[in-house]
């Protein structure tokens, strides 16, 4: 039983929840996790803890709720400073926040639009998605991680999106490895980290989820 009372309101396939799980693992923190049924009926606790957006993830620390995944990861980093997820200098931190924000604004939507697009619209969606990946690849440069030599805030924000790429690749008929080899190498490198490996779901299961979701939304 850990000293800290940490409860995560979770959904297995959510990349946003994944961010929080990876951050907690990086800090060596143990926590309880409660799977929410987002389609069947959200729990009272979720609705009470996140009344404005009614979304996961929610992290409850000693009963006090925190919402919005990037904000939760920032909190975890500030509350348990070792090992640090953000650079020490103000400028480095601003750059990390910029890329986390870029990923939030662009990456998930671009990836999902590929498998959400009916028929010929897939090609446009695929082009847009690859453009976003290339911007990120350029930002990564020759570094091992977005955090430089060490896995950090931006890596945590980005890597859960990667297990959704398989669905985009199948629907768009391309591979991230061919289009962005350096980014692909970063994905493989990050997935080898224990904090990431133990929480990532099977991409095939995510793909099955996407198929089900498309049927639900009437996309063909």
């Amino acid at each position: 039983m850990s000293n800290e009372d940490l409860l995560l309101l979770d959904f297995w396939v959510s990349p946003f929840c994944m961010r929080v799980k990876i951050a907690l693992a990086e800090k060596g923190l143990s926590y309880e996790s409660k799977e929410e049924d987002l389609f069947g009926g959200k729990s009272e606790l979720l609705l009470k803890s996140n009344p404005i957006y009614q979304k996961v993830p929610v992290l409850l620390h000693n009963g006090k709720p925190l919402n919005e995944s990037a904000i939760i990861v920032g909190y975890i980093d500030e509350k348990w400073p070792s090992p640090p997820l953000l650079p020490a200098c103000a400028y480095g931190r601003s750059q990390a926040r910029f890329w986390a924000d870029y990923i939030d604004k662009k990456l998930f939507d671009a990836a999902c639009t590929v498998w959400r697009s009916p028929g010929e619209a897939v090609e446009v969606a695929k082009k847009d998605f690859i453009e976003v990946l290339k911007v990120l690849e350029e930002a990564l440069g020759e570094n091992n991680f977005f955090g430089g030599e060490t896995f950090g805030f931006v890596d945590i924000v980005a890597i859960p999106m990667a297990f959704w790429f398989y669905a985009s690749e199948k629907f768009g008929n391309f591979t991230v490895e061919e289009e962005c080899p350096k980014l692909s190498a970063w994905i493989k490198r990050s997935m080898q980290r224990e904090s990431v490996a133990k929480v990532l779901p099977d991409p095939e299961k995510v793909y099955d989820f996407v198929i089900m979701f498309r049927k639900m939304q009437g996309i063909e």
């Binding site: 404005i52 620390h61 006090k64 925190l66 919402n67 919005e68 904000i71 939760i72 920032g74 909190y75 500030e78 509350k79 103000a90 400028y91 931190r93 601003s94 926040r97 910029f98 924000d101 870029y102 911007v135």
Partner: protein
């Protein structure tokens, strides 16, 4: 620091730019203001913000910081000896970031819909806008500012949008004070501070700007 070179690439009417001006004023930082032409973007802007090509951009000793809330956090950390903008407690910081993010997600987009949409879409935007302001009123409670006794991060995120309220009201044909008197009282209280009044633009000038944009987009 005497040798600091600080330049702000901005557009006078931008509430995002006003956030940065206000943060710099709160910290007593001297800077060069550079008005940008967003129709014919300058080489400097494109060089300093190649990803989004938007203002505001803060250039500090030649290094650019982009995205208004990221800039405000950077200003808070780079000039940390005066007027802290974020609380020191990690949970309170997370709450401040949550509410500033709420302003970003709701106020700008809904406000924009008010002056660009018509009919049912405009009505829906007005309702969403008022609902969002009411949630913010709830969060403010009895405090003079969101930052408590002094202006803080959430105040800086929100109060520049007050300069656009007159434009929203006039194009949307509604009265914000009638629906949200506490919010208007709060905004007027903020304007009594010199840092705020000198950082915010005249709402009537902003309205003229909106009329010009509406004509340009064929909305008038």
């Amino acid at each position: 620091m005497a040798s600091d070179q600080v330049t702000l690439l901005d557009l006078w009417a931008s509430p995002f730019g006003m956030r940065v001006r206000l943060a710099l004023a709160e910290k007593g930082v001297k800077y060069e203001y550079s008005e940008q032409d967003l129709v014919n973007k300058s080489a400097l802007l494109l060089q300093m913000n190649p990803v989004h090509k938007k203002i505001p951009v803060l250039v500090h000793n030649g290094k650019p910081v982009c995205e208004s809330l990221i800039i405000v956090q950077y200003i808070d950390e780079a000039w940390k000896d005066k007027a802290p903008l974020l609380p020191s407690d990690p949970y309170q910081r997370a709450q401040s970031r949550f509410w500033a993010d709420f302003v970003d997600k709701k106020i700008y987009d809904l406000g924009r819909k008010i002056w660009t949409e018509k009919g049912e879409d405009q009505e829906a935007a007005k309702k969403g806008f008022i609902d969002s302001l009411k949630l913010l009123e709830g969060e403010l409670g009895d405090k003079p500012y969101f930052g408590g006794e002094t202006i803080g991060y959430v105040d800086i995120a929100l109060v520049p949008f007050y300069t656009w309220f007159y434009a929203y009201e006039t194009t949307g044909n509604f009265n914000i004070e009638a629906e949200c008197p506490k919010m208007i009282a709060y905004c007027k209280r903020c304007l009594q501070k010199e840092t705020v009044s000198k950082s915010l633009e005249d709402p009537k000038k902003v309205y003229d700007f909106v009329v010009m944009l509406r004509k340009k987009f064929g909305l008038e």
